[in-house]
């Protein structure tokens, strides 16, 4: 806070000082009109006196203006979509200006790379620059907008729970089975989280994918890098942007469960078909159907009862920026409130048990020119996120909602007792959601950074120094206040007088509490020297960067001294660039990193990368003959990137593995006699030193093409990549005992993976009269393979990890269901318990006549998608705009399991999905189809049927209408009268339709049993106002 005040005072001082200087001069009033090239008057053009931000005005409907200024000051005319013009005030008091429509060419496009801004045409590495207008999400996290929008990124959203609904994403897929697969995210040059960032604060969003662009990050760049820069103030009069949107969230898929009568019928079937007694008598079934016994046969649809049809999310943001030549500012604040879908008890006035996430974000970026050559940037940003959750945990609630069958318990018995089958997930969902207290999580983040940019042209022209310091502070807090009433369950039979006979299943819990808090802090210090020189057609550039980082975390380490030590990193990085005539480009990048995790001699790693590009379109021959070709650049890069993250959690990583740890032995050695114990314990290894481990290295090749044709109407980029990860850290788990390591597995750089694939994006735009149409598409495909892993020899090569994908699904191969007993007799023996016709028949892979674990092979792909694509269309016509984005994912599959899909596998615990009833199910004497979707029912689980096998493997590929939006920008004539520059109302729909073969729950959701907070389908109305 002190910092902000200080900055504000500093800004105010600078502004005041600036105006005091100018009052001595002669004031004149300037009038004039502003026209466009078609000689039409432009309304709303900002006319300002340079360096005096407060003095700006707008032109009227005739394009006229009148402003007071001093002679020999500059007037600045600026308007969105036009190039800015500056005019010096001399003697003339009438200044008419014609503004030229701005035109951005692909050649001139600026992109942000690791070491600063660069013309896109000169880039030799593989990067994706994200068009921020295409990132649309009504949720609190920008990560949910990445899939299908950003080439090179594979993303997946696992849950829809407010505050926990961000997507996991990987750049070019998962390329290691070792620790750490996530990308490095840098905001304004500092490692920060992407989840909390406010989308309106982002100025640029870049994904660095290949070795040449990430080599300078050395130790951290192996999984790709996301670079974000936040907005800065512009030298202009103050501009205020406000946005408000409200969303109604429903669910893309809600798992559907059978009603009580169907459930009871299925349960009887499951028992009778296995020669067990039916559980419900015909009379019971009649009672269930007629709903005559609300205590013993309640028939409750738990999902409908405790999930609202939808919830509301509200989001609002406000930012303003402006400034003059000496100082510029950008200040923003935003607020989001994501509502939860649980049906909670509104009568609880004192506290709320619904899931809910609120977040307040703020950011202040101030740039100050201290001298002609010195620029200081100060940025302060932060967020406060508050998550509220019901007292039952996420897993308990979803297991309970789907585990309670419709007739097991009512909510309350007619005698007033609360019904419950026990604690945790066996608890009544009503108790878990409304009666069990609530959980509060909140996370504060404060990020501060100062950047100093010093132009060293007094030493030599083209030399520049940039120094950065960042200090980030996070703390996370958790408090759970919990209680529950005593729970009862009714015996199946009433007492002889008809009363219920209740048995207590759980005693009352009085108010209790658990809490936790963790905090961490990160400091980064960075210095850079930039040098650029242009000699005729030759452009030379060089950058040297030194970085040191430290991070410390206090996550209840207690007496663990090792974890309490700050984690430090040091690196020296550099780049040399050479360009000839905007045709040939050649870069050398390197990172020289030190890591605390390796022993002396293994600590430092050099990660070089070379890259080159040839812009064919700039060749004379092409320029003359193929005029439509604006850019055609072929790129290639090769390099090595390292990783020193060995494993452990983010808060408690494995540290200093080159050091051994000792512990005293239990019991010890008895130096005395049998009768007189005189034991002394000695020391023994609790960790063997792995003193030769060193960097895990990823060798990356990237062949790419950037193109832009027909006056930039058709543009795009395509990349093929080939990455090999070597020296992946693994525990050596198959060292023979005779080596004498006492069960302590050392670590070594033994694993290797290869990942290949392509990503690309294309864009086509066409102007038809006043209608602008843009079509775009992206695709990312990655396929990896484990080359080597620490594993023991197997006679059956297909049982090893090597040769298959990372996280490859493995299971038995199902050949359908057994037709009859003859079929069972004539098939290989299945050693998973008794089988009957209608049970799953497996393939004997190794031909040894029995089905066992040696018959488990790779089936399907991986749970995480290996292919993500998106394509969309947008149109603009006058004030109207509309766009649609389709997004899909493929090459992914998963095994479904658990009590929701294996009917009655846990007895009467587990509700039955309607899919079981509606699909082709094997029924004794009725439908003995060997290709049925569900095998013969069984009560209490069938060890044979409920194994991971291709029978239960499901394709999770999908395609969905990810976003649809339509907006209308009010005519300027109308809005200017209210003093508003632009005003737009819009509708945004997300996940409106999903097409997938898998229909039980959302195929994107990372769940094998559907027990998760469903993903949201949202309808949003919003308004943006720009003053």
């Amino acid at each position: 806070m002190k910092r902000i005040i200080f900055i504000l005072i500093a800004v105010a001082g600078v502004v005041a000082g600036a105006s005091a200087q100018d009052t001595a001069r002669v004031a004149v009033t300037i009038t004039g009109t502003v026209l466009n090239e078609q000689k039409e008057p432009l309304q709303g053009v900002t006319v300002a006196v340079k360096d005096q931000p407060g003095l700006g005005i707008s032109t009227n409907e005739n394009g006229g203006y009148s402003i007071t200024a001093n002679k020999y000051q500059w007037l600045v005319f600026s308007y969105v979509g036009y190039e800015q013009q500056e005019v010096l005030i001399k003697d003339a008091l009438r200044i008419n200006v014609t503004l030229k429509a701005s035109e951005q060419k692909a050649m001139d496009e600026i992109v942000v790379t690791a070491l600063g801004r660069q013309k896109k045409a000169t880039v030799t590495g593989a990067i994706t620059t994200v068009d921020l207008t295409t990132l649309k999400t009504p949720t609190s996290s920008i990560t949910n907008a990445l899939a299908g929008n950003v080439s090179g990124v594979l993303a997946m959203q696992g849950s829809g729970q407010p505050g926990s609904n961000s997507s996991e994403f990987w750049i070019r897929g998962i390329s290691t089975f070792g620790a750490g697969t996530s990308a490095l995210v840098l905001v304004d040059g500092f490692e920060r989280s992407l989840t909390e960032i406010n989308i309106e604060d982002i100025e640029s969003f870049t994904v660095l994918k290949d070795a040449s662009t990430t080599a300078i990050y050395g130790s951290r760049g192996a999984n790709g890098v996301v670079l974000i820069t936040t907005k800065k103030g512009k030298m202009d009069k103050v501009s205020i942007n406000g946005k408000y949107e409200a969303s109604y969230n429903t669910r893309t898929f809600t798992p559907q469960f059978v009603d009580g009568y169907t459930y009871a019928g299925l349960m009887n079937e499951a028992r009778v078909t296995r020669n067990e007694e039916a559980f419900y008598t015909p009379e019971d079934l009649t009672l269930i159907r007629n709903q005559l016994d609300p205590d013993l046969f309640p028939d409750i649809s738990w999902m409908d009862m405790f999930l609202k049809p939808g919830a509301v999310t509200q989001r609002t943001s406000l930012n303003f920026d402006g400034g003059g030549a000496l100082a510029r500012y950008f200040v923003s604040g935003s607020y989001i409130n994501e509502g939860g879908m649980y049906e909670t008890d509104e009568n609880l006035k004192n506290y709320n048990t619904n899931a809910n996430y609120k977040r307040w974000n703020y950011r202040a970026n101030v740039d100050m020119n201290l001298t002609q050559t010195t620029l200081v940037r100060v940025g302060v940003s932060g967020s406060l996120g508050k998550q509220n959750l019901p007292g039952g945990t996420y897993n308990e609630i979803w297991a309970s909602l789907m585990g309670q069958n419709p007739i097991s318990i009512p909510i309350k018995y007619s005698t007033g007792q609360v019904a419950s089958r026990g604690g945790a997930e066996k608890q009544n969902p009503w108790v878990l959601i409304t009666q069990q207290g609530y959980i509060e999580n909140w996370e504060n983040k404060i990020q501060t950074n100062v950047t100093l940019e010093q132009n060293l042209r007094f030493i030599t022209p083209g030399l520049r120094f940039v120094g950065r310091f960042g200090y980030d502070n996070n703390n996370k807090n958790y408090i759970r206040r919990m209680k529950w009433p005593e729970g009862w369950i009714a015996e199946r039979q009433r007492e002889s007088n008809g009363d219920l006979r209740l048995r207590r299943t759980i005693t009352e819990q009085l108010l209790t509490q658990t809490s936790d808090a963790t905090g961490d802090r990160a400091e980064t210090l960075q210095g850079e020297l930039h040098y650029t020189k242009t000699l005729k057609s030759h452009t030379l550039g060089g950058i040297v960067q030194y970085t040191q980082e430290k991070k410390v975390n206090t996550s209840n380490y207690g007496t663990d001294i090792m974890q309490g030590i700050e984690r430090r990193n040091q690196r020296l990085a550099g780049r040399l660039t050479y360009g000839y005539q905007s045709r040939y480009f050649f870069d050398i990048n390197f990172g020289y990193n030190g890591s605390e995790n390796f022993a002396t001699g293994h600590q430092f790693g050099l990660f070089p990368a070379v890259s080159g590009a040839w812009n064919v379109a700039e060749e004379k021959l092409i320029q003359e003959n193929l005029k439509w070709m604006n850019m055609f650049k072929i790129r290639y890069s090769y390099g090595r990137v390292g990783n020193d993250y060995i494993g452990g959690s983010d808060n408690q990583p494995i540290r200093f593995p080159y050091l051994a740890e000792f512990t005293s032995t239990a019991g010890g050695y008895n130096w005395g006699d049998l009768e007189s114990n005189n034991s002394y314990s000695g020391l023994t290894y609790s960790r063997i030193a792995s003193n030769t481990i060193t960097w895990e290295v990823s060798t990356k090749h990237d062949l790419g093409l950037d193109f832009s044709f027909f006056n930039d109407q058709f543009s795009g980029a395509l990349d093929y990549f080939h990455e090999q990860r070597d020296g992946i850290y693994m525990e050596r788990q198959y060292i023979p005992d005779i080596v004498g390591l006492r069960g302590q597995d050392p670590r070594a750089n033994v694993g290797a993976t290869l990942s290949k694939g392509f990503d690309g994006q294309v864009k086509f735009s066409q102007q038809i009269n006043k209608l602008t149409l843009t079509a775009r598409g992206t695709m990312t495909y990655s396929r990896n393979e484990i080359l080597e892993a620490d594993e023991q020899y197997s006679n059956y090569p297909y049982t090893t990890r090597a040769g298959f994908r990372v996280n490859q699904n493995k299971g038995l191969v199902a050949l359908g269901l057994f037709k009859d007993y003859d079929d069972i007799r004539n098939s290989p023996t299945q050693n998973f318990g008794r089988v009957a016709p209608g049970d799953i028949k497996y393939k004997d892979i190794n031909g040894d006549g029995t089905i066992d674990d040696n018959d488990i092979v790779a089936v399907g792909a991986t749970r995480y998608p290996n292919l993500v694509y998106g394509f969309g269309l947008s149109a603009n016509w006058k004030g109207f705009d509309a766009s649609v984005l389709f997004q899909g994912a493929g090459k992914s599959s998963f095994f479904i399991n658990g009590f929701t899909v294996y009917p009655f596998s846990q007895g009467d615990w587990g509700n039955i999905l309607t899919d079981v009833v509606n699909s082709n199910r094997w029924i004794l004497g009725e439908n003995e189809d060997p290709n049925a979707t569900y095998p013969r029912l069984s009560y209490g689980g069938s060890a044979n049927n409920y194994r991971a096998s291709s029978y239960w493997l499901r394709e999770s590929s999908y395609m969905r209408v990810k976003t649809v939006d339509a907006g209308y920008t009010f005519p300027k004539v109308f809005t200017n009268r209210m003093g508003i520059k632009t005003m737009r109302v819009y509708f945004l729909g997300t996940n409106l339709f999903t097409f997938s073969k898998f229909k039980m729950w959302d195929p994107e959701m990372n769940s094998t049993n559907g027990q998760a907070y469903p993903l949201a389908k949202t309808f949003t109305l919003g308004l943006t106002v720009n003053l």
Partner: protein
Amino acid sequence: MHCFFVFILFFGSFFYACKDKDLIREDKYDPGKPTVFSDFSPKKGAIRTRLYIYGDNFGTDISRVHVYIGERELKVVGANGKQIYCWVPGQTSTGQVRVVIDGDSGTPVEHTFNDPFTYIKSTTVGTLVGNVDELGNSSIVDGDFENARFSYPAWVTYEPESNVLFVTELDRAVRRIDLNAQMVSTLITNGQAAFTKMQTTTLSANKDTLFLSDDNGNLTSRTKVAVAYTLRSENYRRVHPYIYDPACFSTAPHPVTNEMFYNGLQGIGIKKAIPDPVTGELLPKLLFRVGGSTNQSSLIFFHPSGNYAYIVSYTRIYKSIYNWETRELEPPILFAGSATGGDVDAIGTSARIGRGYQGVFVKNPAYAGQADEYDFYFCDQNNQSIRTLSPAGVVSTFAGKGSPTPDGSVKGYIDGDPRKEARFADPTGIDYDAQRKIFYIAERDNKRIRTITVE
């Protein structure tokens, strides 16, 4: 700024449109329409019969609905507008079915069906006495049947002359249940008369002497009383020592000769009390060991004819013939069950028993004229059931294990039809009132005395 305001208003209405669902069912009774009573079913039934009334516009609020058979009010369980579901309790007699539905205005709708409901008496499992607190705990509490409690009832002996039950709370006490006065009292507890661990009780052949056996904890020395007795003539109040011996688990006075047979722990020794020719003091005589070197408790039950006794020891039932010549029991043969436990109804050694405990011989009218007219009813503690052993050696399940829970548990506390509905929890004591045809069952876990009876 107005736009914001309008916008917020618009969305405000949005929030309030989604209202909370009501968890309570509303009454669907329509006072504007007549209530129709068309029929009821079934027309006859026993205790625990589910009776349905059919018609229209009954409403769903069961607190307004009253159903009677004759003057007996039934428990109304549910109503869905077109059906009323109610429950026939015990002690009902055949009568007209009458339905009363209270109206808002205070004038109830009433209907009496023409057909009567015929009440049938049936065999059911019921509860005689005992209860537990909400935590399932209990202790030794004397008093009337409403309040009395048991802590660990394991054995029951019915004394027909005074219509009294003696219940042994294993290792704790012997209780007396006066069935006429419906009162429970404590006859004797540990510590009184040097009792340490009371095991079982039996009555002499003429039913006037109650023998009490005590696992006195001794293994070899004859320093403590193993069997004591009390007399009806003294209202069972005074305890007299019968024989000094190491631990005794059960006594079996011969039903004809009144000789005392009893058992000890070591090697499952079966003993007979023989008077010293000089002093008249009773001395033990070891007849044989049942289990070889096994140290295990056993229980002895004499057939009413005195021709043989069953020796029940865990998973096995032995048969020992009484030798009228030597007036001793002969070494037994394994008659039913086997060394391995289980729950299988079958004949002889193919049958499997969990843990056999107290048993009682009950005359079976179907055997009239045969050499042996009695079935042996015994408790199988681990299998939560009451089982029978026929003279031919067939073991079958008589009561318990009804209406299992969805996870297959058959232990519990449920009354009703002996096989279809009733459940027991560790039943170990059983005796039979042959005159009134009532079984009395003591359950350790339910801490109750249950009955199996035809109303």
